[in-house]
C-alpha cells in the first residue's frame, strides 16, 4: 500500500529526536497560550516565526503546527475549570463543561475533552493522509484560470462563514487584497504605493501586519476593560469515565468529528465554526437535548471533537493547494515561503519528508497532548494566576523584537505599530480582521493568476467559464453567495452564531 509507505516515511521524519522535541515544545507552548486568554495562536505563531528561521523546515513547521492544535487543547481546560475559554473555539465547551465542573465532574469533562480531541485528531490525520495526494494531483493540472476561480471560491466561502455582517467581511477582503498590491509589481517591475520607501519595494511584511492586527490590537482591546482575574479552582479528581459516559459520548464524538472535518476544509472555517456548529447540531439530535446547558457530557464531547478535527483538516487546502483557509494557515504559508518552500501542489512530490513528517507529527502531537494535559492541569491553572499587567508588556516586547528580526530592520516594527492602529480602528467599527489577512495573503496570487489567465485568453474573460473545472468552482461560489444572501438562510445563520 502506497499510503503506508508514505506514512512510514513520515514517521521516520517525525520521530527523529529533534523533531519530537520541537513538536513537544510546540504543543507545550500551544497549550500555554491556549490557557491564557488574550493571547491566541495567530499572534504567537507570528511572534515565533522569525525565531524559526534557523531551524530546518520540518522542525519549524512541526513546532508551529503544534502550537496551533495545542491551543485547542489548552483552551478547553480553562473553559471547563473556570468558565473562561482561552480560545474562541472553546467558547461553547464552557457552557456544559463548567456546569459539569460545578457538579463535581470536572475530571470527567476534561477527560472527555481530551479523549474526544484525540479521537478526532486521529481521524482527521488519516483523512489528511488519504485526501491530500489525490487533491494535489488534481491541482497540478490547474491553470491560471482554475487557480483564480479557486481563490475566488475560497474568499467567498470565508465571507459566508465569517460571523457578523457580510458586506463588512467582503469589504475587509477587498481591503486586504489592496494592501497586498503594495510593493513591486511582479509582471512589470513597477513599484506601487511605495512612496519612495526602499523597504516597501518588497511589499508590506505579513508577519508585521498580522502581529499588529492580531497581537498588539488584541492588547489594546484587553486594556479597555481590564479586570483582575480571580482564580479559585478545586482539585480535579475522577478523571476516569464510567461506562455510561462512554455510551453517551460515543455518537457525539463521531458526529462532531465528521462535522468538524468537513467544516475545517472550507476556507474561513476551521476550529471555531466547527465547535459552534456541532454544539448546535448535538443539541437537536441528542436524546438528552434538554440537559444541554446544565452539564451534559455530550455538550463537551461534540464541540471538543469538532474543533480539533477542524483544526487538523484546515491543513488540507494549505498543504495541497497552497491556499490558506484561516489566518493561522496564512502564517504557515508564510513560514514555508521563509524556508524557501513554495506552498502548493508540488510540496507532496518535492518535499515528501516535510509533508508526511508534518502529518505524522500531528498524530504524535495529539498523543503527547493527551499525556501532557491531564497530569499537568494543575500547572496550567496556576499559569492563569500570572496577572495580565505582567503578561502584556512581555507580549509587546516580544512582538517588537520579533518584528525587528524578520529583516533586521526597524521599519517592520513601525509597520507593526501602524497596523495595530489600523486593526484597532477597524475593530471599533466592528470589522473582522481575519478576512483582511486572508485577502492580504491571497492578493498577489490572485492578481498574478488573473493577469496570466487574461493574457492566455487574449483579453477574453470567458476563459473563466470555458474550462469546466473553473466554471464549476465559480458556480459553487455563486451558489454559496446566493445561499448566504437569501433571507431564510441568513436568518438561520444568525441563529447559529447567536446560539
Amino acid at each position: 500500500m502506497d499510503i503506508f509507505s508514505n506514512l512510514w516515511l513520515g514517521a521516520s521524519t517525525a520521530f527523529l529526536p529533534m523533531n519530537l522535541f520541537y513538536g513537544f515544545i510546540g504543543c507545550l507552548l500551544g497549550t500555554a497560550i491556549g490557557v491564557l486568554p488574550g493571547l491566541g495562536p495567530t499572534a504567537t505563531i507570528a511572534m515565533l516565526l522569525p525565531i524559526t528561521f534557523g531551524l530546518p523546515p520540518e522542525s519549524a513547521l512541526i513546532m508551529l503546527a503544534g502550537i496551533f492544535y495545542g491551543a485547542q487543547y489548552g483552551g478547553s481546560t480553562t473553559a471547563v475549570l473556570i468558565n473562561l475559554p482561552g480560545e474562541s473555539s472553546s467558547v461553547v465547551t464552557a457552557i456544559d463543561g463548567y456546569q459539569m465542573a460545578r457538579n463535581g465532574r470536572a475530571g470527567a469533562a476534561l477527560a472527555t475533552a481530551a479523549l474526544g480531541s484525540f479521537f478526532a485528531g486521529t481521524v482527521a490525520t488519516i483523512l489528511l493522509a488519504v485526501a491530500a495526494p489525490p487533491l494535489a494531483s488534481v491541482a497540478l493540472n490547474f491553470g491560471p484560470a482554475e487557480y483564480f476561480s479557486l481563490m475566488v471560491l475560497g474568499l467567498v466561502a470565508s465571507v459566508a462563514l465569517a460571523s457578523g455582517s457580510l458586506l463588512k467581511a467582503m469589504a475587509m477582503i477587498v481591503f486586504g487584497l489592496l494592501l497586498g498590491t503594495v510593493g513591486t509589481d511582479v509582471e512589470s517591475g513597477t513599484p506601487r504605493y511605495v512612496f519612495d520607501v526602499p523597504e516597501l519595494y518588497d511589499g508590506l511584511n505579513f508577519v508585521a501586519v498580522s502581529m499588529g492586527i492580531f497581537g498588539i490590537c488584541e492588547i489594546l482591546r484587553n486594556l479597555e476593560n481590564e479586570q483582575e482575574r480571580s482564580v479559585g479552582v478545586k482539585r480535579v479528581t475522577g478523571l476516569m469515565l464510567t461506562r455510561e459516559d462512554f455510551r453517551r459520548i460515543r455518537w457525539p464524538v463521531l458526529r462532531g468529528t465528521a462535522l468538524g472535518s468537513f467544516l475545517g476544509v472550507l476556507p474561513g472555517g476551521g476550529a471555531m465554526l466547527a465547535s459552534f456548529a456541532s454544539y448546535a447540531m448535538e443539541k437537536r439530535l441528542s436524546p438528552n437535548g434538554a440537559e444541554f446547558g446544565k452539564g451534559a457530557i455530550e455538550g463537551v464531547a461534540a464541540p471538543e471533537s469538532a474543533n480539533n478535527a477542524g483544526a487538523q483538516t484546515s491543513f488540507i487546502p494549505m498543504l495541497t493547494l497552497g491556499i490558506p483557509g484561516n489566518p493561522v494557515m496564512a502564517l504557515m504559508v508564510g513560514a514555508m515561503i521563509l524556508q524557501g518552500i513554495t506552498p502548493g501542489p508540488n510540496v507532496i512530490s518535492d518535499e515528501p519528508d516535510l509533508f508526511w513528517g508534518m502529518i505524522v507529527s500531528m498524530w504524535s502531537g495529539n498523543l503527547m497532548l493527551v499525556i501532557l494535559n491531564l497530569p499537568l492541569i494543575g500547572l496550567w491553572v496556576r499559569m492563569l494566576t500570572v496577572p495580565y499587567h505582567l503578561l502584556f508588556p512581555a507580549i509587546i516586547g516580544f512582538c517588537c523584537i520579533g518584528a525587528y528580526s524578520i529583516n533586521n530592520s526597524v521599519f517592520d516594527v513601525f509597520v507593526m505599530a501602524g497596523f495595530s492602529v489600523v486593526g484597532f480602528a477597524l475593530s471599533k467599527m466592528r470589522f473582522e480582521p481575519a478576512p483582511l489577512l486572508l485577502g492580504f495573503i491571497l492578493g498577489p496570487m490572485l492578481e498574478e493568476n488573473l493577469r496570466r489567465a487574461m493574457l492566455i485568453s487574449q483579453g477574453d474573460p470567458t476563459i473563466f467559464v470555458r474550462s469546466p473545472l473553473s466554471l464549476s468552482l465559480l458556480l459553487v461560489a455563486v451558489v454559496v453567495l446566493g445561499l448566504v444572501l437569501s433571507p431564510s438562510i441568513s436568518r438561520k445563520r444568525e441563529e447559529a452564531f447567536t446560539e
Binding site: 534557523g54 455582517s165 458586506l167 463588512k168 467582503m170 469589504a171 477587498v174 481591503f175 487584497l177 489592496l178 498590491t181 509589481d185 509582471e187 512589470s188 513597477t190 506601487r192 504605493y193 512612496f195 498588539i216 492588547i219 489594546l220 486594556l223 479597555e224 476593560n225 481590564e226 483582575e228 496577572p387 495580565y388 499587567h389 505582567l390 502584556f392 508588556p393 512581555a394 509587546i396 516586547g397 512582538c399 517588537c400 523584537i401 525587528y404 528580526s405 533586521n408 526597524v410 521599519f411 516594527v413 513601525f414 507593526m416 505599530a417 495595530s420 480602528a425 471599533k428 467599527m429 466592528r430 492578481e447 488573473l450 493577469r451 487574461m454 493574457l455 487574449q458 483579453g459 474573460p461
Partner: protein
C-alpha cells in the same frame, strides 16, 4: 427624511470609500492597461472601485437597519497611546541604546498602561526580560544588534 440608524456602520462605510479613494489617488500614475495586457494599475483600481461600492452599500444599510444595542464603548486613551507609541520608540532608539536598555524602557513604559501596574513589578519584569532577550537574541540567535549601543557610556558598543 433619511436618518443614520447605525452610526458605527455609517462611519465604517465612509472609511471604506475613503480608503478606496486613497488607493486610486496614490495609484493615479500607474498604468492601467487593458483587460488583455493588464498594467500594474488595473487590479488596484478595480479593487478600489469595488471597495468604494461596498462602502456605499454599508452606508446604505446603516440608514435602513437599526443598530443593535450593545454596551457603551469604553475608551482608554492613555493605554492606546502608550501601547502604540512603545514600538515606535523601540524602533527609534534600538540602534543607539542597544537591546538591553531599549527592552527595559519599553517594558517599564508600556507596563504603566495598566491600571494595576506597580513600579517595583514593572522594573523587575523589565530587567528580567531585558536579560532574557539579550541572551536569546544576541547570544543564541546572533541578531545584529548589540546589547548596549553607542549611546551608553563605558559599556556601549562592546556588545
Amino acid at each position: 427624511m433619511l436618518k443614520i440608524r447605525n452610526g458605527r456602520d455609517f462611519v465604517g462605510g465612509a472609511t471604506m470609500i475613503l480608503v478606496g479613494l486613497l488607493f486610486i489617488w496614490f495609484g493615479r500614475e500607474l498604468e492601467a492597461g487593458n483587460s488583455f495586457q493588464m498594467g500594474p494599475g488595473y487590479f488596484p483600481t478595480m479593487l478600489s472601485l469595488i471597495l468604494m461600492a461596498l462602502g456605499a452599500l454599508i452606508i446604505g444599510q446603516s440608514l435602513v437597519v437599526e443598530a443593535e444595542q450593545d454596551g457603551p464603548e469604553t475608551w482608554n486613551w492613555k493605554a492606546y497611546g502608550l501601547v502604540i507609541l512603545a514600538p515606535i520608540g523601540f524602533g527609534l532608539v534600538l540602534a543607539g541604546l542597544g537591546l538591553a536598555p531599549t527592552m527595559f524602557f519599553l517594558i517599564v513604559g508600556v507596563a504603566s498602561a495598566s491600571r494595576y501596574a506597580n513600579w517595583r513589578h514593572s522594573i523587575l519584569l523589565g530587567l528580567f526580560l531585558a536579560a532574557c532577550c539579550v541572551l536569546l537574541f544576541t547570544k543564541l540567535l546572533s541578531l545584529p544588534v548589540s546589547a548596549f549601543g553607542p549611546w551608553v557610556p563605558f559599556v556601549g558598543g562592546l556588545s
